[in-house]
């Protein structure tokens, strides 16, 4: 009888088979293994939340309860809002997971998604209409949600703002055809003034002292003999400062609640002496921070988690701008290298847990947002490496520890983006490569010198501030400084750019939403030459961008009064100093950008029109218009001609690459005409998250041969899947023709590499050579998928066995099994580039 083969389950065997997830499970500590498996998966799968994950009704009830109680109060809104915030922190349930050393979560329980009903009634209705996410008993809780929703109709942020927007712009934007998101200061991507609050110079008690001083001085000033406009404005400042103080005091109190819970468990409920000691350490940590500045790595991480938790109690934050190796690095150095109070292994446990705490964060979001960010809750792109304010290499031992921890915990969110510069050591580059080689899809690599120059060019950030940048969302740099940090990037300035070229053929009429959205440019058949065609394209581009930008500008102007952020203001130097809400445009430099989804379709389509219609005259414009209106049905031969015989971006072909440059140049000029309320520019930033799938059924047929329903291209400047036929260097050469400083704010480039080819030292050297070409060409971004087709196709067939396979989608990573089949196929279709 044949004996069954004994399966080798050693780390080495798993690594040899490139089953990195099983190897990681064996390599990480028992604590990390427990905590990693304890995460409730919160990213939506196909737009729906995973079984067992539920909307958190507790927070919604607390907010509503306090709002009702304050209705008759004479307090100004900002004070009321701060009191609602404090009420939530004082009364929400808190928990400490077994084996955890770090605490704090946005919801009340681990499986819940925080839901803030004061943001938008359209979000509240989604909570009501999503029975899979409503906790049991569903019927009873549906009534609870109904009652909460009824209360907030007309009172939520968006409900208050909508009547004061331009209704025509708003309808076009909310139609979902050209934009993505809503213009709210409490819903989007919040950077932080980390230089003020995260450098160890001060913490909440210090800021409260400063606020008390401001309040006392101003109170005296307003009661001195005399009266003028400056005194009249001081009353609002007093209210803002008071509201900031309320939020900070509540922040200290909730930390003390965690400390108290840890002590109760240690002293009354826990038998294990080692765990008791850990719990007392948690108690000591939470008694220290955020009241006082951290002293240790654990306190520093805990301080950061509390700040993130509070900021996410105040607003729905879809991103996580952070630079953890830079701000926590000194504590790692102190604990591990100088005082030796932590071993490297103990520190690695803390680093891994810090990532896990972020991975579990979730706030209930609308379905369009879940579809656009498949498999994750938001884009937690943490910035690593880079230079300090003086231009010196900022990489440290914690940079390396984060790379090592990432390979152990293998979470898809947060991911890292590494600021490469010429002074980065080989040791650090090897750690980065190892993360990519092991299939994490991150770090993405950013060209620091190019992006620092880019920040100075587009937004006028002084060099010392430009060097202190983090990713505000997936890609856009933003300084973490007093005037440079942007408090809220509203997601709706995200243009579905494929509509630009589509509208040229429909004179701005959108057949999907059945309304006039774009400009009424002349009938496309009357455009006699490419110049006239390009002028129509330009008109559509300007119209779409303007609609989106106008809405954001309006929301930003209204934010300080209608949607204040007292907590975010309380950790912002400019607000402490001025008494103004941190969203007040006059105290910020401005760092706006238009995210350009589905951008490259324009380039390939323009090239096809130029060549096949205007130059070769192979088809008439009337024929093309007819074919597109029929979604190419009955025109398959013609469609294939447009796919195969028109030049495509990414092949180092000047014909089409020049069109890319012309389009970017045209947009760049217009970007300087568009101004944010701080008076700064609105450059574009081509990237996609998973918008290329979300918009597949919204964008009609295009001249690049795409049909309605086909996935759009996956990256900001990535060639279409399978259309880059000239090799990896040609892709880089095409992308390198763009001026990554003046051409736009940033450009996303996805590349797929072969894990087999890049194995071992030879593989590393091949990659380094490739990266040298990338750096020499001055390309600002690149990210890699390094999982082979075989693994991905097997994962499609047997998803249960491949739960831990991670892929780079666009500006973020996700577990392969958590993204839609269409997105999975789109990733497999990307060309695997052979190097060397």
């Amino acid at each position: 009888m044949a004996q069954a083969a004994i399966k080798d389950t050693s780390v080495e065997a798993f690594e040899k088979k490139q089953e990195w997830w099983w190897a990681a499970e064996k390599k990480r500590s028992g604590r990390l293994d427990y905590l990693r498996k304890a995460i409730w998966k919160k990213g939506a799968i196909g737009g729906l939340y995973a079984p067992g994950v539920k909307v958190d009704l507790e927070r919604a009830k607390l907010t509503t309860q306090k709002a009702k109680e304050l209705e008759a109060s004479p307090d100004p809104y900002v004070i009321k809002f701060a009191k609602m915030f404090a009420h939530v922190l004082d009364n929400k349930s808190i928990f400490i997971t077994d084996r955890a050393q770090l605490v704090g979560y946005t919801g009340s329980l681990p499986h819940t998604m925080a839901w803030d009903p004061s943001c938008a009634s359209i979000l509240n209705e989604e909570a009501f209409n999503d029975p899979t996410a409503i906790p049991d008993p569903v019927e009873e809780n549906q009534q609870v949600i109904r009652d909460i929703n009824n209360y907030w109709i007309g009172k939520s942020d968006l409900d208050k703002m909508m009547p004061v927007f331009d209704m025509e712009d708003l309808m076009k934007m909310l139609s979902g055809s050209i934009g993505w998101g809503v213009p709210l200061a409490r819903g989007g991507y919040s950077n932080k003034d980390y230089e003020y609050i995260m450098t160890g110079k001060r913490a909440f008690e210090d800021v409260i002292k400063e606020l008390d001083k401001k309040i006392d001085e101003t109170d005296i000033a307003v009661h001195q003999p005399g009266a003028d406009a400056s005194i009249a404005s001081m009353y609002d400042k007093l209210n803002n400062w008071e509201a900031m103080k309320i939020t900070l005091e509540a922040g200290i109190r909730i930390a003390k609640r965690y400390a108290r819970l840890a002590r109760i468990i240690a002293e009354s409920l826990e038998d294990d002496p080692q765990r008791k000691e850990e719990l007392l350490k948690i108690a000591e940590t939470c008694e220290r921070v955020p009241a006082k500045p951290p002293r240790t790595l654990q306190e520093s991480f805990q301080y950061d988690i509390f700040i993130q938790m509070m900021s996410r109690t105040e607003a729905i934050e879809g991103a996580w701008p952070a630079r953890p190796d830079y701000y926590h690095g000194p504590y790692y150095d102190k604990d591990v290298n100088i005082n030796k109070t932590l071993t490297k292994e103990e520190a690695l446990d803390l680093v891994g847990e810090f990532m896990i705490r972020a991975a579990e964060v979730c706030q209930f979001k609308p379905k369009w947002s879940r579809e656009g960010l498949q498999g994750i809750d938001g884009t937690w792109v943490w910035t690593m490496g880079g230079v300090d304010a003086k231009g010196r290499d900022a990489c440290n031992d914690l940079t390396i520890a984060f790379m090592q921890a990432a390979r152990l915990v293998r979470v898809a969110n947060p991911t890292f983006a590494f600021r490469w510069h010429p002074k980065v050591s080989d040791e650090v580059m090897r750690e980065i490569f190892e993360c990519i080689r092991q299939g994490l899809g991150y770090p993405a690599i950013r060209h620091d010198p190019v992006l620092i120059a880019n920040s100075m060019h587009w937004h006028g950030h002084p060099i010392e501030e430009a060097r202190l940048w983090v990713h505000q969302a997936c890609l856009s740099p933003c300084p973490t400084t007093k005037k440079g940090y942007q408090p809220m990037r509203m997601a709706n300035a995200t243009a579905n750019c494929a509509k630009i070229i589509e509208y040229v053929f429909t004179s701005g009429f959108d057949p999907v939403v059945n309304m006039q959205v774009g400009a009424e440019t002349p009938d496309v058949t009357t455009l006699d030459n490419f110049e006239e065609f390009f002028a129509a394209w330009t008109e559509q581009m300007k119209t779409i961008f303007s609609i989106l930008v106008r809405a954001v500008n309006r929301a930003r102007m209204l934010a300080p009064t209608l949607t204040p952020r007292p907590f975010l203001s309380a950790i912002s130097e400019r607000s402490i100093e001025s008494g103004l809400d941190t969203c007040e445009p006059s105290i910020a430099r401005g760092n706006a950008w238009v995210t350009a989804f589905t951008w490259v379709e324009n380039i390939d389509s323009l090239a096809a029109v130029k060549k096949l219609i205007y130059e070769e005259k192979k088809y008439t414009m009337g024929e093309l218009k007819e074919a597109l209106s029929k979604n190419w049905e009955g025109y398959e031969e013609m469609r294939l001609d447009f796919v195969r015989n028109a030049p495509k971006w990414g092949n180092d072909d000047d014909y089409v690459d020049d069109i890319m440059l012309r389009c970017l140049d045209t947009v760049a000029k217009f970007s300087k005409e568009l101004k944010c309320p701080s008076g700064n520019n609105w450059p574009i930033l081509p990237e996609n998250v998973s918008g290329n799938i979300h918009y597949a059924n919204i964008v009609g047929a295009l001249p690049n041969g795409r049909r309605l329903g086909d996935a759009l291209y996956d990256g900001g400047i990535s060639p279409g899947p399978g259309l880059d036929k000239s090799g990896p260097t040609a892709v880089l050469k095409s992308c390198g023709k763009i001026d990554h400083i003046t051409g736009g704010r940033a450009f996303l480039l996805n590349q797929r590499l072969s894990p087999t080819q890049l194995a071992g030292e030879k593989g590393y050297q091949l990659w380094r050579a490739y990266m040298r070409t990338w750096a020499d060409l001055g390309i600002d971004h690149i990210q890699f998928n390094m999982v082979d087709d075989k693994t991905l196709r097997t994962a499609q067939k047997d998803p249960e066995k491949y739960q831990e396979v991670i892929v780079r989608v666009a500006g973020y990573s996700a577990h392969f099994v958590d993204i839609s089949r269409k997105t999975q196929d789109n990733i497999i279709q990307r060309t695997v580039q052979g190097l060397g």
Partner: protein
């Protein structure tokens, strides 16, 4: 009326014994944890499923 302070899960705040935490052990499908909820000592615990009489 049965009140929270009679429950062994109630832990009063030292400086303010009228308030306290209801601390419970929870084991969900993925993890085990202790949770705390702010309660008042005099809150009605008559309908509370988790109530456990404190031993004298």
């Amino acid at each position: 009326m049965t009140t929270c302070q009679e429950c062994k899960r109630f832990f009063p705040v030292e400086e303010d014994p009228a308030h306290g935490d209801c601390v419970q052990r929870v084991v969900d499908p993925r993890q085990a944890y202790y949770m705390a909820k702010s309660v008042k000592a005099e809150d009605d615990a008559g309908a509370c499923d988790s109530f456990q009489k404190r031993e004298q």
